[in-house]
Symmetry: C2
């Protein structure tokens, strides 16, 4: 069975959390719009029944699933990227949803007024929101993840138990994105989160993740995605 | 087994989506902070292992679950508020996550810069963000939910299949909140979503929901919650 990932082809964006899971698992998948263009991606949003609200969405046989966290909830057991127990699975999902909140807030630093407007149309507001994000929100989110690692009864190498999960991969991508968009603020925050830094390194060193990051399947960061480097927003 | 809901006692907020599910099911639950105050609520955020990031969180025996959508994912099967099939369950969750996105955007209309600041400290930005929310986002979210109802192969009475799910309850609460915070904009949007209006009425007419709404367990809307009525934001 080939998974079909449907997402904007020129950005990492929210789709990247799904790509990382598929890549780590060595799954058979097609990044459809990178192959066929975006007409089908957009048409899929209007395909009844059960139209996804927005990309990314995944097609797995007859099933179409939108919402990044729901896609990972579905893929986790199938790709061996989540533990067996129900308690571990709902905890992994809870971490993923919290990372998703951090991603949404990172997006809103450059689009605090409206996604439909350009950054240039909301720069003063973006400056204010980014200041709060740097000062309060990055430390809060990364500090929480550090605490999750520190209090993991199985040890601080992974977020859940003693094995890799999709939440670990998503933590990696969150750190990558923050370090791209807010290099100075993120470096400061990471000084207080050594366990998180170690997990980020551990994920980067996974053979399949390393090969993926070095390949042209990894779209570069840019000022079109969720994480954008506008130096004026890094304080 | 008594469920413990832990949430801010004086607001509906995100906890209300959990309260509605527990009430509709006639579940045995305690709204802990309404009974005991908020000291335990706050302390629970620091309780290792597996500390929730923020309220609401649910305690079910030994399990502590944060993130509203994850709580409902857990409760759905236990309260009989989701269908049996895996496909229906992930679709219900996907709808819930999209409603959660709408709720987060509604919050940001009055707090577009920082949750830690007062509304009074971000009024000009709030006015701009609310305008976009009224014009573009309310119609987009409600229009998508209407489309979900219209294309449901089992008919338009419910979001998923032919039975009530927690997503229906959450749709009810989203409409309640929007109608409170943005009465004029929401009335305009609802003129185009008759199936959604019918489902909102159907939920309100459920005996247990009706009794709950009439009870003092239902905290009133206020300008401390996610949905706030600031007339200047309703255009």
């Amino acid at each position: 069975m080939t998974y079909e990932l449907h997402y904007w082809p020129a950005i990492q964006g929210r789709g990247e959390f799904v790509r990382l899971a598929l890549e780590e698992a060595g799954a058979d998948y097609v990044d459809v719009a990178r192959q066929d263009g975006i007409d089908g991606l957009v048409a899929g949003l209007d395909a009844p029944p059960r139209p996804p609200f927005a990309p990314p969405y995944l097609r797995d046989g007859d099933l179409v699933i939108g919402q990044t966290a729901a896609i990972l909830l579905h893929l986790g057991p199938r790709l061996g990227l989540v533990a067996e127990s129900e308690a571990d699975r709902i905890w992994t999902h809870q971490i993923q949803l919290t990372i998703a909140d951090a991603v949404a807030e990172a997006h809103d630093t450059h689009h605090p007024i409206a996604s439909a407007l350009y950054y240039e149309d909301q720069k003063p507001e973006a400056a204010r929101r980014a200041e709060d994000f740097r000062r309060n929100r990055i430390p809060k989110f990364l500090g929480w993840l550090e605490r999750v690692l520190a209090t993991n009864p199985a040890g601080p190498r992974h977020l859940v138990g003693d094995r890799l999960s999709y939440a670990d991969l998503s933590l990696f991508q969150l750190v990558e994105g923050l370090a791209y968009a807010f290099p100075r603020a993120t470096e400061r925050a990471l000084a207080d989160t050594p366990k998180l830094v170690a997990l980020h390194r551990l994920v980067a060193a996974r053979p399949r993740i390393g090969a993926y990051l070095a390949s042209d399947r990894r779209v570069p960061f840019s000022e079109d995605g969720v994480f954008r480097r506008y130096p004026e927003l890094d304080g």
